[in-house]
């Protein structure tokens, strides 16, 4: 059982989160060991909002009845979670071993040059975020770049400008 807390606080917390997340938290609170679902809850928040805003982590802490420090502690431990908003298209260049030995670095350098940003940064227009990622499981098609949900196989530096242009056109 969750101990009674200030209703107003809970109400605010519910309002600060997407409905699907609140629903999920309500469900796990009914079961055993609700706090073991914290990572799953953070996944859902990030899925909905694109990142983990401060207020949403406070709200998760309230609704799951765990200290805020624990929520931020867990969120900051895992690479997957982000505290800053990301671009419309996330460009993830695979730097797993197979992609590395087949030239992923040159591909990253080219993206950096073309977009004028470093890894982990987002372009000023909010269109692209450049990231490196570990093995996408398509090693045979290395080097591999994922843009949004699309996988681009056998990448080379030369293909980079074309790919950026394609998504810029899509965004228009």
């Amino acid at each position: 059982m969750i101990p009674a807390v200030n209703d107003k606080v809970l109400e605010n917390a519910r309002a600060a989160l997407p409905a699907s997340v609140v629903e999920f938290i309500d469900k796990v609170n009914q079961g055993e060991r609700p706090s073991s679902h914290l990572i799953a809850v953070l996944h859902k928040v990030q899925e909905e909002l694109g990142f983990l805003p401060r207020e949403s982590m406070d709200a998760v802490a309230q609704l799951m009845q765990v200290p805020t420090a624990k929520v931020t502690g867990v969120a900051s431990f895992y690479h997957h979670f982000s505290f800053v908003p990301k671009g419309k298209y996330i460009i993830s260049v695979c730097t797993g071993t197979a992609c590395y030995v087949k030239g992923a670095e040159e591909v990253i350098d080219k993206f950096k040059e073309e977009l004028g940003i470093n890894l982990g940064e987002t372009t000023a227009d909010g269109l692209f975020t450049l990231e490196d990622t570990r093995c996408l499981g398509a090693c045979a098609l290395a080097p591999v770049v994922k843009v949004g949900d699309d996988i681009h196989a056998s990448m080379t530096a030369d293909k980079v400008p074309g790919i950026i242009e394609r998504y810029m056109n899509l965004a228009d």
């Binding site: 997957h80 045979a140 098609l141």
Partner: protein, 643 residues
């Protein structure tokens, strides 16, 4: 008949008579893969193409069947045609055009399209007569493993392989429970529940010589036995599907292609150790595997294969998924347990081992995906028969993800005891572009390198360790003469340093210091002393770190120092990188004999440091050059050289 066998028999009867069953004697079946790798290569589009063709003919005796992955990544998308009474024919790299040709000529007219058939990686020939290896002949006599061979056995690429863990991959439709059951699925579980003796299961596991496929190679029977020595009655069974080695994709492919095998293995394990609840810890980067596993679990619940009183027995067990969030260290058992509990995934000191105190302080057994996929096969064949494939010490096979500088990248499964030469040369088709093999890397960031002259090493836990590497979870990366060992060692260390959880000093600080040394070396600023310091530090971190990540992080360094010390020396003493990989140690120069003065390089150079008149040899100003390599890529006359 007992209640359990009755329950199993009615599942089996339902499976045999299922309405959706494809009658291969009556219809023409077009098989298309459906795993992530295959979809990335365009399998969904190809399937759609065939669907349109079938619709246009309005024939109801032609069907499409989506199967799992056969592991031939470099040949994807793969399409196989099964005509009544004929051997299956497999085509490679199918696209819209070739799909049309295959449909018209093969499906409609019955003429095999020779030039599109899947070819042998080494001899480039197409299917040959069955020439089965000893291991294959043995597996052909086993009902649980004979399907793959009967379909694909005539393809030369599988000649050296043996499929046990991947017995259904590329054969069944991943979420078709009935088909899984027709292939002996859940018969092992029924047998185990009927026998009702954990000791018997453990004896079978011991006889099978099955060892953990997650890397450490601990004997399964022995591990499961630990849980039984504990008084505590609440116990947990965990499947480790974190697959952290970057460059490995065995577990993903297995979960996407045949989720029921892993679930069945997990229930058998759960029964043996007396667990009431199971968890699959799976990395979030595998959306399709997660989706299939969730669906497969739901299907099992609907059919009384999970939940209360499984198959009418006294045994109740259920499985929940828990998602990782991108932390390699969470593959380590104690870190994984913390992560399932919803905490930061930091390891803790062992003992106590998880088998004594794991999830929520209760006895917990953790096994890898591939280990669990083997379990039903052990029971179906009997441990002793299973052990006939493999070596004296280790029974069965190992799945490897073959990638890097190799012609046939993909997923392979070979009997323990296969040589690396057979894998690289015969299955993998060797190193492409006429380059020379340098080394084979196994075990990922925790592993090491096996140099080209030790290619006759056989695959087994002890032999790979003796050669200075480890079995690992199955990543196998082939390196050629263009790869620099110092650079590759740095790559792995960058990974380990980034993934170090920071809890203990030797790993947190040690990996940083080692990385600094390697960075100095590749930047041309290293000294001979650095090599000694690196080696000393590596041994220290190996000894003093708290968990397996830190203990193993120095392995790639020590292994490359052992086999390729001269490359380190060349980097620090002569300031040269023979592979021409380390930018700081190379220069770009233009060969005035070859340069025709086309100006392409000068136009491309970002810092405008290439000078020369049109139609005259060009020259690079070395002081300004930033070594971006663009001139090298753009010159079509081979005039720009790395020296």
């Amino acid at each position: 008949m007992s209640q359990i066998l009755n329950a199993y028999q009615s599942l089996r009867d339902a499976a045999e008579g299922s309405k959706e069953r494809v009658d291969f004697d009556q219809v023409i079946c077009i098989q298309v893969g459906s795993a992530t790798c295959e979809n990335a290569a365009g399998a969904n589009d190809v399937a759609e193409e065939f669907r349109k063709h079938i619709a246009a003919t309005k024939r109801d005796d032609i069907v499409i069947k989506r199967v799992g992955c056969t592991g031939r990544c470099s040949c994807e998308p793969i399409v196989s045609i099964r005509m009544p009474g004929k051997d299956m024919v497999t085509y490679q790299k199918v696209n819209g055009d070739s799909a049309h040709k295959i449909f018209v000529e093969h499906v409609l007219e019955g003429k095999i399209v020779d030039e599109l058939q899947m070819q042998c990686p080494t001899c480039q020939s197409v299917p040959m007569d069955n020439r089965l290896s000893d291991a294959q002949q043995h597996l052909q006599g086993q009902e649980v493993t004979d399907k793959f061979l009967s379909l694909y056995g005539n393809l030369p690429v599988y000649a050296k392989q043996a499929r046990i863990a991947l017995r259904n991959a590329g054969v069944t439709t991943p979420l078709d429970l009935n088909e899984y059951i027709r292939n002996l699925g859940f018969s092992s579980l029924a047998k185990v529940l009927e026998n009702d003796s954990p000791a018997w299961v453990i004896a079978e596991m011991n006889a099978s010589k099955l060892k953990g496929r997650g890397g450490a190679g601990f004997p399964i029977g022995k591990k499961w036995g630990f849980a039984l020595t504990n008084e505590e009655k609440i116990r947990y069974m965990v499947c480790n599907a974190d697959e952290g080695d970057p460059g490995a994709f065995m577990d993903r492919s297995m979960l996407e292609s045949d989720p029921f095998s892993v679930i069945e293995g997990m229930i058998i394990a759960g029964f043996t150790i007396g667990a009431q609840q199971g968890y699959v810890y799976i990395r979030a980067e595998y959306p399709l595997a997660i989706e299939r596993l969730e669906k497969a679990i739901a299907i099992c619940r609907e059919n009384n294969l999970l939940g209360k009183n499984i198959l009418g027995s006294e045994y109740s067990f259920d499985i929940e998924l828990r998602l990782g969030a991108g932390a390699f260290v969470c593959g380590e058992e104690t870190a994984l347990i913390h992560s399932i509990e919803g905490e930061r995934g930091q390891p803790r000191v062992k003992p106590p081992f998880p088998a004594v105190s794991g999830l929520w302080g209760k006895p917990t057994i953790i096994n890898n995906v591939e280990t669990l996929a083997n379990v039903p096969a052990v029971i179906a064949m009997g441990g002793a028969e299973f052990a006939k494939v493999g070596t004296e010490l280790s029974g069965g096979t190992k799945v490897f993800a073959l990638a890097g500088k190799i012609t046939n990248t993909g997923l392979i499964e070979v009997p323990m005891g296969t040589t690396l030469r057979e894998i690289i040369e015969e299955i993998g088709g060797g190193v492409p572009n006429g380059k020379k093999l340098k080394a084979v890397q196994t075990g990922g960031p925790a592993g090491g390198f096996i140099p080209a002259d030790a290619l006759d090493t056989v695959v087994d836990y002890n032999t790979l360790a003796a050669a200075g590497s480890i079995m690992g979870s199955g990543g196998m990366i082939v390196l050629d003469e263009d790869d620099c060992m110092v650079d590759v060692a740095k790559f792995y260390l960058t990974f380990s340093q980034d993934e170090s959880c920071g809890k203990c000093t030797p790993c947190r600080e040690g990996t940083k210091r080692m990385l600094e040394i390697l960075e100095r070396m590749t930047a041309g600023k290293g000294t001979m002393e650095d090599i000694d310091n690196l080696e000393r530090l590596a041994k220290l971190v190996q000894k003093a770190s708290l968990c397996g990540l830190g203990k193993a992080a120095p392995n790639p360094i020590l292994s490359s120092l052992k086999h390729f010390r001269e490359e380190f020396v060349a980097h620090v003493q002569d300031k040269t990188c023979a592979a021409k990989k380390c930018k700081a140690l190379l220069r770009y120069e233009i060969d005035s004999d070859k340069c025709i003065g086309c100006t392409a390089c000068a136009k491309k150079c970002p810092v405008a440091c290439i000078k020369g008149e049109r139609k005259e040899p060009h020259v690079i100003d070395q002081d300004t050059c930033i070594k971006c390599g663009q001139c090298f890529s753009v010159c079509r006359f081979g005039a720009v050289k790395k020296v």
